[in-house]
C-alpha cells in the first residue's frame, strides 16, 4: 500500500510538471527569440570555393599567431561572396574572378564606393584528366570543343577510343564563370557536362573516371594528370607551373582577389597586411597556389 501512495504522489507531480514544463518552454522560447547582440571584433571571409582552403589556412595560422582575432571563413562561390559583400554580411569577399560592372554598381548604390580589389594569390586554372590518359597537352580550341560538346570522343583528339565524360562546376562558382568566359568564349557548356559542387568533387570524379576531363584550381590537382595547354595550335604547350602562371604566359592563369567595401583598417587591415606578407604568401605556396609577388 505504501508503494501505491508513492506512485500516486509521483505521478501527480508528474502531471503538474507537464504544465510547468510547457510554461517553462514558452518563457525560454520567448527569451531566446529576443534579439541578441552580435559578437564584436570578428572578421567574416566569404566567397570563392576555389579559395576556401586558402582562406581557412590563412585564418588558422593568423589566429594561431593572434589569439584575440576571430576569422570565420565560408565558401559558396564567388557570386555568393560578392552578394554578401553587397548585402553587408561579410567584411572580406574572396573571389576567383573580377567583380562585374553590374556588381560594382550595386555596391556603389549602397555604400557610395566601388570597393577595394586586392590580388592575394595567383592560380593556374588546371585541366585535369585521368592518370591513365595518354594525352599530355591540349589546345584552347580543343578545350572549347570538348566543353561545348562538339567533340565527344578522345579518338578525335588523337587519344584512345572512349567517350569523353565532361565535369564542370555548379553555376555559382567563379571558376565556372572564368572558364566559360576564357575558354568557351561565353558559349554554353554542353548539357552533358556534370555539375560538381566543388573542385574536389571534380578531381575525385576525374581520378575515378578513365575518360573524364575537368578543370579547377592548381592546388587541388592530386591523383590526376594535369594537361599542358597551348594558347593556339601553333604555339608550344605551357605547363601550369609557378613561372608560367606568374608571368601570365599560361593561358588560364588568373589572379585571386580579396574584395572589401572600403580600404582595410583596424583588425581587417592587420589581417590583409599579414596575408600579403611573406608569412601569408608562404601559405599560398603551401596550399598549392602561387604568390602574387
Amino acid at each position: 500500500m505504501q508503494t501505491f501512495q508513492m506512485e500516486g504522489a509521483r505521478n501527480k507531480t508528474g502531471s503538474k510538471s507537464i504544465l510547468k514544463l510547457m510554461a517553462k518552454w514558452l518563457t525560454i522560447a520567448t527569451a531566446l527569440l529576443a534579439p541578441l547582440a552580435a559578437a564584436a571584433g570578428e572578421i567574416t571571409v566569404k566567397g570563392s570555393d576555389t579559395m576556401v582552403i586558402l582562406g581557412q589556412r590563412w585564418a588558422e595560422e593568423y589566429m594561431g599567431a593572434h589569439p584575440k582575432a576571430t576569422i570565420q571563413v565560408t565558401g559558396g562561390g564567388s557570386g555568393t561572396g560578392i552578394s554578401a559583400l553587397i548585402n553587408g554580411t561579410t567584411e572580406i569577399c574572396q573571389a576567383s574572378r573580377p567583380m562585374s560592372a553590374a556588381e560594382k554598381e550595386k555596391l556603389r548604390d549602397r555604400y557610395a564606393t566601388v570597393g577595394v580589389e586586392i590580388p592575394v594569390a595567383r592560380d593556374g586554372l588546371s585541366v585535369y584528366v585521368n592518370a591513365s590518359n595518354p594525352l599530355s597537352e591540349i589546345t584552347m580550341d580543343q578545350l572549347k570543343l570538348i566543353f561545348t560538346g562538339k567533340v565527344t570522343n578522345w579518338k578525335e583528339l588523337g587519344g584512345p577510343d572512349g567517350k569523353i565524360v565532361v565535369y564542370s562546376r555548379e553555376n555559382s562558382s567563379g571558376t565556372y564563370v572564368f572558364f566559360k568566359e576564357h575558354v568557351l568564349k561565353n558559349a554554353d557548356y554542353t548539357v552533358r557536362a556534370q555539375s560538381m559542387p566543388g573542385t574536389a568533387a571534380v578531381v575525385n570524379a576525374v581520378a575515378k573516371e578513365k575518360f573524364g576531363i575537368g578543370y579547377g584550381g592548381a592546388a587541388y590537382a592530386k591523383g590526376i594528370k594535369v594537361l599542358k595547354v597551348k594558347p593556339d595550335a601553333g604555339s608550344p604547350a605551357v605547363a601550369a607551373d609557378e613561372a608560367h602562371v606568374k608571368d601570365g604566359s599560361y593561358p588560364l592563369s588568373r589572379p585571386l582577389f580579396f574584395y572589401l567595401r572600403n580600404k582595410p583598417t583596424g583588425d581587417v587591415g592587420a589581417f590583409v597586411d599579414w596575408v600579403l606578407s611573406a608569412a601569408g604568401q608562404t601559405i599560398v605556396t603551401k596550399v598549392g597556389y602561387y604568390p602574387v609577388k
Binding site: K180, D188, R192, Q194, P197, A205
Partner: protein
C-alpha cells in the same frame, strides 16, 4: 491541491477509491492516474472548499486554454503559410514583366531556338549570357530516377512485406522488421554518400557504364530510401486482411500460394497501392541522394546510363547562390511549387487508397 494526498488523513479515502474505480488485478494501474487523488480532494475538503476553487479556476483555465488555442492555431497557420509563401515567391513568374523578359512559362516548357544552337532545344543553363530555363530536362530526369527507384523498391518492399506477413516465422520477422526500421532511420545524406563513394564505382565496373554518376546509381540509392516506406505500409495492409478470408480460401482447397495471390493480395491491394504512392512521393522529392549521386547534368534523354539533374537537386544546388527576387530565384520557387503539387497529389492518392481498403475490409468482415 497536489500535495494534500500526502497527509495521513486521506490515505483511507484513496484506497477506497482504488477499490471503487475498478478491478484491481493490476493494482498499480489505477494509482497511476491522478484521478483518485483529485477526487479524494473533493470528498475530503467538501463544499467549503469549492467556491475558492471555482473562483480560481476560470482565470487560470482560460489562460491555459487560450495558450493551447494560440499554439494550435499558430501551427495550423504555419501549415497554411507553406502553401502561401512558396506560391508567393513563384508568382512573379506568371505576371512580372521584368522577369518575363528573361523567362516565361512558355519558354520553360517549349523548345526554344537559341543563338548558337542548330535547332530548337530544351536547355537548362540559368547562368549564361542568355539564361535558359527549360524545365523538361529536369522533370524527365526526376521521373527517370523515380522510375528506376520504384522498379527496385516495389518488388523488394512488397516482396519482403509479403514474406514477413505470410511465410516468416516469429524469429525471422523479428529480424527483418527492425532491420527495415533501421534502414528507415538512415539519413538520406548517408545513402547519398554511400552511392557516391561505393556504389558508383561498383556499378560502373559491373555494367560498363560511360560515367560513374548517372540515373541508375541515383535511382538504386533512392530505392533504399523508399523501400522502408513501401514495406511498412504493405506489411500493415497484408496484416489487416482478416483471417477469415484465408481460412475460407484454405477450406475451399486452395494452395497457400493461391490463397496469397488470389485472396490476400487483392484484399490488401489498396493498402499496398497506398504504400507505393507514398514511396513515389518520397522518391520524387528526395534531395540529398540525387544531389550527390546523379551527376547533375540536365540531359533530356531516356537512357538510364546518362547523368540527370532532378528538380529537387536543382533547387538545392542553385538556390543559395541566386539573387533574391530575380528570375532564377523565381524559377526555382516555381520548381518547388511543382514538387509540392506532385507530392500532394501522391499523398492524397495514398490516403484515398487506404480509406478505400478500410471501408472495403470493414464492410466485408
Amino acid at each position: 491541491m497536489a500535495t494534500s494526498s500526502e497527509s495521513p488523513v486521506e490515505r483511507p479515502l484513496d484506497q477506497a477509491m482504488l477499490v471503487g474505480l475498478g478491478p484491481s488485478k493490476r493494482p498499480s494501474l489505477p494509482t497511476r492516474g491522478p484521478p483518485p487523488v483529485r477526487s479524494s480532494d473533493h470528498e475530503h475538503h467538501g463544499r467549503a472548499e469549492r467556491p475558492r476553487l471555482a473562483s480560481r479556476r476560470p482565470r487560470f483555465h482560460a489562460l491555459a486554454e487560450m495558450a493551447i488555442r494560440v499554439l494550435a492555431f499558430s501551427s495550423i497557420a504555419a501549415i497554411i503559410l507553406i502553401f502561401v509563401f512558396i506560391g508567393k515567391e513563384a508568382w512573379p513568374l506568371l505576371h512580372d514583366s521584368v522577369i518575363g523578359r528573361e523567362v516565361t512559362l512558355a519558354k520553360m516548357w517549349f523548345a526554344q531556338q537559341w543563338p548558337g544552337y542548330d535547332a530548337p532545344e530544351h536547355i537548362w543553363q540559368p547562368v549564361s549570357e542568355i539564361p535558359k530555363y527549360a524545365a523538361w530536362p529536369l522533370v524527365v530526369g526526376t521521373l527517370k530516377v523515380t522510375l528506376i527507384a520504384m522498379l527496385v523498391a516495389v518488388p523488394l518492399g512488397v516482396g519482403a512485406a509479403l514474406f514477413v506477413s505470410q511465410y516468416a516465422g516469429r524469429r525471422l520477422r523479428e529480424i527483418v522488421k527492425p532491420t527495415v526500421e533501421l534502414l528507415a532511420g538512415v539519413p538520406s545524406v548517408v545513402l547519398g554518400f554511400f552511392a557516391l563513394m561505393v556504389m558508383a564505382t561498383w556499378l560502373q565496373q559491373v555494367l560498363g557504364l560511360d560515367s560513374r554518376l548517372n540515373a541508375l546509381v541515383a535511382g538504386v540509392a533512392l530505392s533504399f530510401a523508399i523501400i522502408p516506406v513501401i514495406f511498412t505500409v504493405s506489411e500493415e495492409a497484408f496484416g489487416a486482411v482478416p483471417r477469415s478470408y484465408v481460412e475460407a480460401s484454405t477450406a475451399l482447397g486452395a494452395a497457400r500460394w493461391q490463397t496469397i495471390v488470389r485472396v490476400v493480395m487483392p484484399a490488401a491491394g489498396p493498402g499496398v497501392a497506398a504504400g507505393i504512392a507514398l514511396g513515389l512521393g518520397r522518391a520524387v522529392g528526395e534531395t540529398m541522394i540525387v544531389l550527390m549521386a546523379s551527376g547533375n547534368a540536365a540531359i533530356l534523354s531516356s537512357s538510364p546510363a546518362d547523368s540527370v539533374r532532378t528538380v529537387s537537386a536543382t533547387i538545392a544546388a542553385e538556390l543559395a547562390e541566386v539573387v533574391f527576387g530575380g528570375a532564377h530565384y523565381t524559377v526555382l520557387f516555381f520548381l518547388g511549387v511543382l514538387l509540392f503539387g506532385f507530392t500532394l497529389a501522391t499523398n492524397l492518392l495514398g490516403e484515398f487508397a487506404i480509406g478505400r481498403m478500410r471501408r472495403r475490409l470493414g464492410g466485408m468482415a
